[in-house]
């Protein structure tokens, strides 16, 4: 089990958290101006890297706040977590 450091509550067990997937995906401000390909890329495509991953977690069983983490998808080591 991972030990995850919530930026507000400190280190807690992974079971207190829920995973939010890739971070930094911004909803396009003017969806009407996008092509279908661009919209599909926003909706479905993910970078899914093998290595450093920039991702979202929610401290669901604690303060219930969202935060960002840099986690390695091979070693699962979390380099840093920070407030959104």
């Amino acid at each position: 089990m991972l030990l995850i450091k919530c930026p507000w509550c400190g280190e807690r067990a992974e079971t207190e958290f829920s995973y939010g997937g890739e971070a930094g995906i911004k909803r396009p401000l003017e969806p009407d101006k996008l092509t279908d390909e661009e919209w599909a890329d926003y909706l479905f495509n993910r970078s899914n890297p093998k290595g450093a991953h920039h991702e979202l977690w929610n401290h669901a069983g604690g303060c219930r706040r969202w935060f960002e983490a840099e986690r390695d998808t091979v070693t699962y080591r979390i380099a840093v977590t920070r407030e959104l």
Binding site: M1, L2, E14, T15, S18, Y19, G21, E22, D36, E37, A40, D41, L43, F44, N45, R46, S47, N48, P49, K50, H53, E55, R71, T73, V74, T75, Y76
Partner: protein, 416 residues
């Protein structure tokens, strides 16, 4: 290829088993191939086999970074069924089922396909409505399916807790009698041997590190054993699909997750069918060696580590013990993980790509073992003709742009 038969068994036994031929050659990569298949799992090997067998394309290499079948193929819990909900998915998995039914003869290799039936349990009213709907949809597509009630279930699976006091009462189940299990390693080895016999080069310990393009066309691959020129490149690397896509400047609608499985110490025969429960979230069968084979869901986070978290193990065991209280004292022998390539609609991608001559087969997630022969068959067609077969046309990358997704979460989620 020397044919395997009862006679060859006897003859080799008399020779103290010292004269068996290796099942496939170990050639060095040639400089050039008509088709390079990246990934020596079941799907890649089946693709190469059907390219040679059905389309006469024999100048083919399968490049595998580790050993044949060492990915999800050799790590899965081997459930084979075709009772998906939507017509597109049902027909694709049913094509595979029909190939399974003749596969040992076709490959001259015993893949130990055992049609022992698969029960998908329903524990509440909504489960039962979904089961009725799926069974009806299956029948309309000519796929065997039936709804069975608690009395019949408890007769067929005496150790399952069907009592009214069960934490998750069993209200019924769908049953596909033609479904079952197969020996995963044998599927990889059987396809490897049969493809090799048709001239396919199977090259292990050869990792693809780059996809070479010229203009909008693929021209070959870079590997840890040198560059290889190829007219067409077919990528079938399951959990590593996004890594290979990046080499070709593409992005995929896929995320890789750890998926774990377990086997227990061997027991005397206790369970002669496959039992799955989406609601309690676990599934179980018993191998021919007597081990209980157990699995459940993915770990939530992205992971390429071939291992997951402890709470997933606990969750899986809770589900199994809730269904089969008498298994509570069985000890687990082994636990492992694979890397599954999860698609937003829980359906695969078997597709051409924006790069000419480059094809991708991925997104099978937690449930692609059952599709191994059908996937290879349809992918070979797509590569050979440079256009999909009607069975896999709905499974193109384009569906994420058009919006024509095939939502199989209900039939695919914990049910592998």
């Amino acid at each position: 290829m020397k044919k395997y038969s009862a006679l060859s068994l006897v003859r080799n036994a008399l020779g103290h088993n010292r004269h068996w031929q290796p099942a496939w050659r170990k050639p060095a990569p040639k400089q050039e191939y008509d088709v390079v298949v990246v990934g020596g799992g079941g799907h890649g090997l089946a693709t190469a086999y059907y390219l040679a067998k059905e389309h006469g394309i024999r100048n083919v290499a399968v490049l595998e970074k580790g050993w044949v079948g060492g990915g999800n193929t050799g790590r899965n819990t081997t459930i084979v069924r075709s009772n998906y909900l939507w017509t597109e998915a049902s027909l694709l998995y049913e094509k595979s089922m029909q190939l399974w039914e003749g596969l040992s003869q076709e490959l001259n290799y015993n893949v130990m396909f055992s049609q022992r039936g698969v029960y998908n349990l329903g524990h509440n009213l909504q489960d039962m409505r979904d089961i009725e709907r799926r069974v009806s949809a299956n029948r309309l597509n000519g796929i065997d399916a039936e709804v069975v009630g608690p009395a019949e279930i408890s007769k067929a699976i005496p150790l399952l807790d069907t009592s009214a006091s069960a934490r998750y009462p069993v209200l019924g189940a769908s049953l596909q009698r033609r479904a079952g299990v197969a020996r995963h390693d044998a599927v990889a080895w059987g396809f490897a041997r049969a493809a090799d016999a048709l001239g396919v080069d199977i090259i292990e310990q050869c990792e693809v590190t780059g996809i070479r393009r010229n203009g909008g066309r693929v021209v070959g691959v870079e590997t840890t054993r040198g560059n290889v020129v190829a007219n067409k490149v077919a990528v079938v690397v399951a959990g590593h699909a996004s890594v290979l896509a990046e080499m070709a400047g593409m992005r995929l609608p896929i995320e890789s997750h750890p998926l774990q499985a377990f086997v227990s110490e061997p027991l005397k025969p206790a369970l002669d069918t496959v039992v799955m429960s989406g609601a309690v979230h676990g599934y179980i069968s018993q191998s021919d060696k007597g081990e209980l084979v157990i699995g459940a869901g993915i770990d939530a986070y992205n992971g390429y580590g071939q291992r997951g978290s402890f709470q997933t193990i606990e969750h899986t065991m809770e589900a199994i013990v809730a269904l089969f209280p008498s298994f509570s004292r069985v000890r687990m022998l082994r636990q492992w993980g694979g890397i599954v390539d999860v698609c937003p609609d829980a359906c695969p991608i078997i597709s051409k790509t924006p790069v000419d001559g480059l094809y991708f087969n991925c997104g099978w997630g937690t449930g692609g073992f059952k599709a191994t022969p059908g996937s290879g068959w349809a992918f070979a067609h797509t590569i050979a003709r440079d256009q999909p077969h009607e069975l896999n046309a709905p499974f193109s990358l384009q569906r994420f742009v058009s919006g024509a997704l095939i939502d199989e979460h209900g039939a695919a989620a914990v049910a592998h």
